[in-house]
């Protein structure tokens, strides 16, 4: 069976196109140079499995006195981890001396492979880059087959650090005098880049500090004021990395002040630096007003559309306007929206006719409801379009006021000629004043960069009653939420708060928690779900939508969607099916199932810790966790 060529479809175009060497051929070649054992890095789990089977098959016929040793070794682990006994790769390892190692395999299985490797019983391992992180299992040689790596954002070039993690597996201390990194031929190989990356200095460690509900609640509860939480946040590595920029801006600002001060002194003008700044502010306010005032009806309309056409709103396309579309995203002057027939289209902002006030969810399954509402009550819901006269009125007045204020800056009692000279100097200092203002704004923005997300999270928590924003206090409710150390505490908090959890059966509790503990886009098979669980999940989705909306209003990225297929797999597991049956029925990878169920169990244990405030829920969670965390999940 040839290895799959899926890479061709999605990898970036590279100029080098070389045929890919079949795995068996590669291992034989390496063996002829005495370069085994080797870890061969492949980009996907499936290719690791295929390559291992392929290579093992062709090596079965060759003489190898370690087969018995491998069989005995593996049998010695069966007692402790019975789930490895019927593993589909058993023969690949025992007879071929080759293994596949990636996150799709069970932890116990991976452990056995690691032990086999360090016992010197394997010739080759086909692995994804995850092996490179964490577990220490070296070989004489590592083989790099592609210069790219699959990430959450698609295919990306390897980084120097990633390559270093991989080459870190080459050469076993005490067993090898020298280790090898070998670039193997393939359509996505790039020896030039590998050579550059090998020579490159290691990447910098970048801070990933961010606001989370858990840290905010815990810190506010411990320290008692936003100022102190902010102080903690500004001790982060992330903030420290902003400091050089802040200091640079502060220096710039100081230079500007000195320049202004010197000039005022030179001209013997007895005015503070603030007057120059005030003039700058007034002047720029005036020019903003003049610029911003729409001169034509078209401009008024454009400005208005720009403001009101936003994701979640329904707009009518064209002036006649019965064709509706739900806005998904906006560019400067374009709109992408879903029409009533479910298809997406993009059109220029000017083509929008009417805009309707409500902001709906942009989930496709909710679009129909939204359109219905507009059909029913569209006339009441349409936003009024501003008229040109309204837009211009008031601004003439404002400009007059500003002009008066500018005049008042120069000392009134001075003689006319002197006044003229002062005004001229003040105007001549506008450039440094503007630079100063700009530096001030930038400093403020930088300082806010770390703290602002905390403030936004605080507003969301305030909305749901876990925190009192005005009093800067964690509420009673917030105290138990602070104790709930899960990935998405607010969602689970709301589930508990609304008594959705305590009265459930264990199976349902498992399904509910699995739905949000799982990776959003991972497929755990399509086992059938009981109606009761489906309606439970629908209720849960409503809560999730409410939470996401509150977050979205604060500019917090929406949480991932809940995973129905994880719910069904977890419900089956909680029902007591055997592991083999679960794997067979879900057709999911064992490693993924283990991770999902183990995370579900951990989240349940967190709920079980809330005995003091949620006795019933805690008892149920504890019972459910016990069911979920049975072998081989532990």
């Amino acid at each position: 069976m040839p290895a799959t060529r899926t890479l061709d479809a999605c990898a970036p175009i590279m100029k080098l196109r070389m045929p890919e060497m079949p795995p068996a051929t590669m291992l034989t070649a390496l063996g002829s140079y005495n370069l085994l054992p080797a870890i061969v890095f492949l980009p996907t789990r499936r290719r690791c499995d295929e390559a291992a089977s392929e290579a093992a098959l062709s090596r079965r016929a060759t003489a190898d006195d370690r087969r018995e040793a491998r069989r005995d070794f593996m049998r010695s682990y069966v007692e402790q981890h019975p789930e490895i006994r019927d593993h589909r790769h058993w023969d690949t390892i025992v007879r071929g001396g080759i293994a596949s190692h990636h996150a799709g395999h069970m932890p116990a299985w991976k452990l056995v492979i690691e032990k086999l490797m360090s016992a010197g019983l394997l010739d080759g391992i086909f692995a994804t880059a995850t092996v490179a992180a964490g577990v220490d299992f070296p070989a004489r040689t590592v083989v790099i087959t592609v210069a790219d790596r699959r990430t959450n954002r698609g295919w990306e070039s390897l980084t120097a650090s990633e390559l270093q993690q991989m080459t870190g597996r080459a050469g076993r201390r005490g067993k090898d005098k020298v280790g090898f990194v070998i670039a193997a031929p393939g359509p996505h190989q790039n020896p030039q880049r590998i050579a550059e990356l090998l020579a490159a200095p290691p990447d910098d460690l970048e801070s990933q500090f961010r606001a989370t509900y858990t840290s905010l609640l815990n810190l506010l509860d411990a320290f008692g004021s936003f100022a102190q939480v902010r102080d903690i946040a500004e001790r982060s590595f992330a903030f420290r990395n902003l400091l050089p920029r802040i200091h640079h801006l502060e220096k710039q600002r100081e230079a500007n002040v000195n320049q202004i001060r010197a000039e005022l002194q030179l001209k013997a003008i007895n005015l503070p630096v603030e007057s120059v700044l005030a003039l700058e502010r007034l002047a720029s306010a005036r020019s903003r007003l003049l610029e911003g005032t729409p001169q034509t009806r078209r401009e008024v309309r454009q400005q208005w559309l720009n403001k009101v056409v936003q994701p979640g709103r329904i707009v009518a396309i064209g002036r006649s306007g019965r064709r509706l579309a739900l806005v998904y995203s906006r560019t400067l002057d374009g709109v992408t929206a879903m029409r009533e027939d479910g298809r997406f289209s993009s059109f220029p902002l000017q083509r929008v006719g009417r805009v309707f006030a409500p902001i709906f969810s942009t989930r496709p399954e909710r679009a129909e409801e939204a359109f219905d509402e507009i059909h029913d009550r569209g006339d009441q819901l349409a936003l009024p379009e501003p008229k040109l006269r309204d837009a211009q009125a008031g601004e003439d007045e404002a400009i007059k006021l500003i002009n008066d204020a500018i005049d008042a800056l120069a000392p009134a009692q001075a003689a006319t000629a002197e006044r003229e000279a002062v005004v001229t100097t003040l105007w001549s200092l506008q450039a440094p004043a503007a630079a100063m203002e700009k530096a001030n704004r930038e400093i403020e923005n930088l300082r806010a960069e770390i703290w602002e997300p905390f403030e936004r999270s605080a507003r969301v928590l305030d909305h749901f009653g876990y925190l009192d924003f005005a009093k800067e206090k964690v509420t009673e409710r917030g105290k138990w939420l602070a104790d709930l150390r899960v990935d998405r505490p607010l969602l689970i908090g709301e589930v508990l708060q609304r008594n959705l959890f305590a009265s459930l059966e264990a199976t349902h509790a498992a399904a509910l928690i699995a739905a949000l503990a799982a990776d959003e886009d991972r497929d755990y098979g399509e086992l059938e779900l009981e109606d009761a669980i489906v309606s439970l999940l629908i209720k849960f989705e409503e809560i999730s939508f409410e939470v996401s909306t509150a977050e979205w209003k604060q500019g917090i990225e929406a949480a991932p969607e809940i995973n129905f297929s994880a719910a069904s797999a977890a419900a089956h597991w909680a029902n007591g099916v055997g592991w083999d049956e679960l794997v067979r029925e879900t057709r999911a990878e064992e490693g993924d199932l283990v991770r999902m169920l183990s995370r579900t169990g951990e989240a349940l244990l967190q709920i079980a810790g809330l005995r003091g405030t949620h006795a019933l829920a805690a008892e149920l969670a504890s019972r459910t966790a016990e069911i979920i965390l049975r072998e081989p999940i532990r």
Binding site: D64, P138, D176, G179, F180, P185, A195, S598
Partner: protein
């Protein structure tokens, strides 16, 4: 035996040279070819011989701590220490020796790691080393012997203990915290936990960070220093790799060539072959693609 499985076809070029793998060349100059051996290399070209020479198992040597290891240990008595070295070069040894020293004086240590699998294997390892009764484990779903003087656990759990201590107004009962795989600080999803843990660890608790090699280790140490008001020493393994590394390119015709030329850049030969292949391989590639 390691050496008996080199090539299924039975061609074992280096076995023709008695003593090559084992005793003769164990002086530690393995990365440099020696002329007398190169000439004995059978039908390999001179370049290939120099690329492959020295493969094999070194003579077992009694363990002796490297300088960077002893330097880190000595510094830890008074300072925080950030050790950057590749995996497998003996970072764990430093942690183990420091733990031994602390336990002997009745003090307590916390060993954090990013992965449950690592935590479990460290729990076993330390249990064998220091006695099971002196080691406890804390992960999201495992809690054993949690009052032991040495705790291994995930960084999240350690961070949670800091939160609890702060809110309860108590002190964390620990004298040393070790962050294994400290470069997880840069992990997109979980890195913030490491930063929170470092910020919230009281300055009286010594900190030992074990990290893969990173570009800005000094920057990181300076941050920790300013944060905690305690000197933070960067200890790096000189010559960065415990086992020297050579890079090669395996050509489609199974010929092995050095990846790098004498100037440290891409071997010219590869560039030439690759450029040729670009033209001539096209029909074959189409056939292969199906």
């Amino acid at each position: 035996m390691r050496r008996s499985h080199g090539d299924p076809r039975g061609r074992k070029p280096f076995r023709k040279r008695p003593g090559h793998d084992r005793g003769a060349r164990s002086e530690g100059h393995q990365s440099r070819p020696q002329p007398d051996q190169v000439t004995r290399g059978g039908n390999y070209s001179r370049e290939l011989q120099s690329l492959l020479t020295g493969i094999g198992t070194p003579k077992p040597e009694p363990f002796k701590a490297d300088r960077f290891q002893t330097e880190a240990l000595a510094a830890l008595e008074f300072e925080d220490v950030l050790v950057t070295a590749p995996t497998g070069s003996g970072k764990t040894w430093i942690a183990r020796e420091e733990i031994r020293r602390l336990l002997a004086t009745g003090k307590r240590a916390w060993y954090t790691s990013p992965l449950k699998a690592l935590t479990n294997s460290k729990y076993q390892e330390f249990g064998e080393e220091f006695g099971a009764e002196r080691v406890g484990i804390l992960t999201g779903d495992r809690k054993e012997n949690s009052d032991a003087p040495l705790i291994v656990g995930t960084t999240e759990i350690y961070r949670n203990q800091l939160f609890d201590a702060l809110r309860g107004g108590e002190d964390v009962r620990v004298d040393l915290v070790i962050f294994d795989e400290a470069h997880y600080l840069g992990d997109e999803d979980r890195g913030h936990v490491w930063e929170e843990a470092i910020i919230l660890t009281p300055p009286r608790i010594r900190m030992l960070l074990l990290s893969a090699t990173v570009g800005n280790a000094r920057e990181l140490a300076r941050w920790i220093e300013e944060l905690r008001g305690v000197p933070c020493r960067v200890v790096t393994r000189p010559g960065d790799r415990p086992v020297p590394l050579r890079a090669a390119f395996l050509l489609p015709d199974k010929k092995l060539v050095s990846l790098l030329g004498p100037n440290g850049k891409l071997n010219r030969e590869i560039a030439t072959i690759v450029a040729q292949g670009d033209e001539t391989d096209r029909p074959r590639r189409d056939y292969r693609r199906r």
